[in-house]
């Protein structure tokens, strides 16, 4: 047998492989590992988004925005209070608006804003995954 024909035969023999009975299980394990890896990646992306959101909130807080938001909240309270006292003085059916409109203070407002930023960050990270 010539060298070349033997080498060709050897390549054919290497190509001719046994089919293992657990081939479906092997494929399932590969798919499983891919899925686990992908789930972990999504978790990491989400976590990165959340951390980014927290950092953004901290940066905004450090910039004195919350003080201004608090002041705006107080102004809002005063405005609503003034409106409610005016309407109460006018003896209209809207006399209780002032009490109903003040269930939160300035801190609540910025916490809500922070949560909104977090939600936005998560939404953003999810959008990147879908691209």
């Amino acid at each position: 047998m010539s060298d070349q024909s033997f080498e060709a035969r050897l390549q054919r023999m290497f190509s001719d492989h046994p089919h293992y009975p657990d081939a479906p299980l092997f494929a399932a394990e590969v798919e499983g590992r891919l899925s686990r890896g992908w789930a972990l990646r999504r978790l990491l992306i989400g976590a990165a988004g959340a951390v980014g959101g927290v950092i953004a909130v901290a940066q905004i807080a450090g910039g004195g925005v919350w003080t201004r938001i608090g002041a705006a909240g107080q102004l809002f309270q005063q405005t609503v209070g003034a409106v409610s006292s005016t309407t109460a003085n006018l003896q209209t059916p809207m006399g209780g608006v002032g009490q109903l409109a003040l269930p939160f203070g300035g801190e609540t407002l910025w916490i809500v804003a922070g949560l909104a930023v977090l939600a936005g960050a998560l939404l953003f990270s999810r959008s990147i995954q879908e691209l």
Binding site: M13, V30, G37
Partner: protein, 202 residues
């Protein structure tokens, strides 16, 4: 890598995947379809596992490395251009993974002199029809790895030498000696064993 993002719900049904060509499946996998890639693993898993076992890996290690090779292939599926067979591409990845491990515990020594120990058994067994797995078992570890890399994984001698981080001449010597032994052991019953055939190499 570019994050694959196709959701499972957009993947074709299993029966459809089974009827698809490898190239179609790799295109789907490149878009992030893990089920399409699973079909590729189902089709070609045995070939990759068999190659690793023939290279000398224990069955459990061969299975682990084959899985690692498929995962690595999925990660870099965008690099697969379809110029060759998908299974050949994964085989080369798997072979390189095995070589990485193998090199940690073994060193490819230069070939010196004639391996008389093996030369004695080749002639006697020539009358028997021995399959490739059995014949490979008669090779030294280095010969087996070199021959499997070149004829099983389809690497050139230079690529094998680079993967093994060994001199090209050393790899060629191991391949030649391995081929000589295989030729003797795989010879058909009654086939004449000429000195030329016995000594032929790469």
């Amino acid at each position: 890598m570019a994050a694959p993002a196709t959701s499972e719900t957009r993947s074709p049904a299993g029966a459809q995947l089974g009827a698809m060509h490898d190239l179609e499946l790799t295109a789907l996998a490149a878009a992030g379809d893990r089920r399409a890639f699973g079909e590729l693993a189902r089709r070609h898993g045995s070939a990759v596992r068999a190659l690793l076992r023939r290279m000398g890996a224990a069955p459990s290690l061969a299975d682990d490395l084959a899985q690692d090779a498929f995962l690595a292939a999925f990660e870099s599926i965008a690099e697969f251009r379809g110029e060759g067979a998908f299974v050949g591409w994964v085989k080369r990845i798997a072979a390189r993974l095995y070589i990485k491990r193998w090199r940690k515990r073994a060193e490819l020594e230069p070939v010196e002199g004639e391996d008389t120990a093996d030369a004695s058994d080749g002639e006697g067994d020539a009358a028997l029809r021995i399959d490739l797995d059995g014949a490979l078992a008669a090779l030294t570890e280095a010969e087996r790895v070199c021959v499997s890399l070149c004829y099983g994984a389809g690497l050139s001698h230079a690529e094998a030498a680079a993967a093994l981080k060994a001199p090209l001449g050393t790899v060629k010597s191991h391949v030649k000696r391995g081929l000589d032994k295989l030729k003797r052991r795989l010879a058909a019953p009654g086939a004449p064993q000429t000195e030329t055939g016995r000594r032929a190499g790469v």
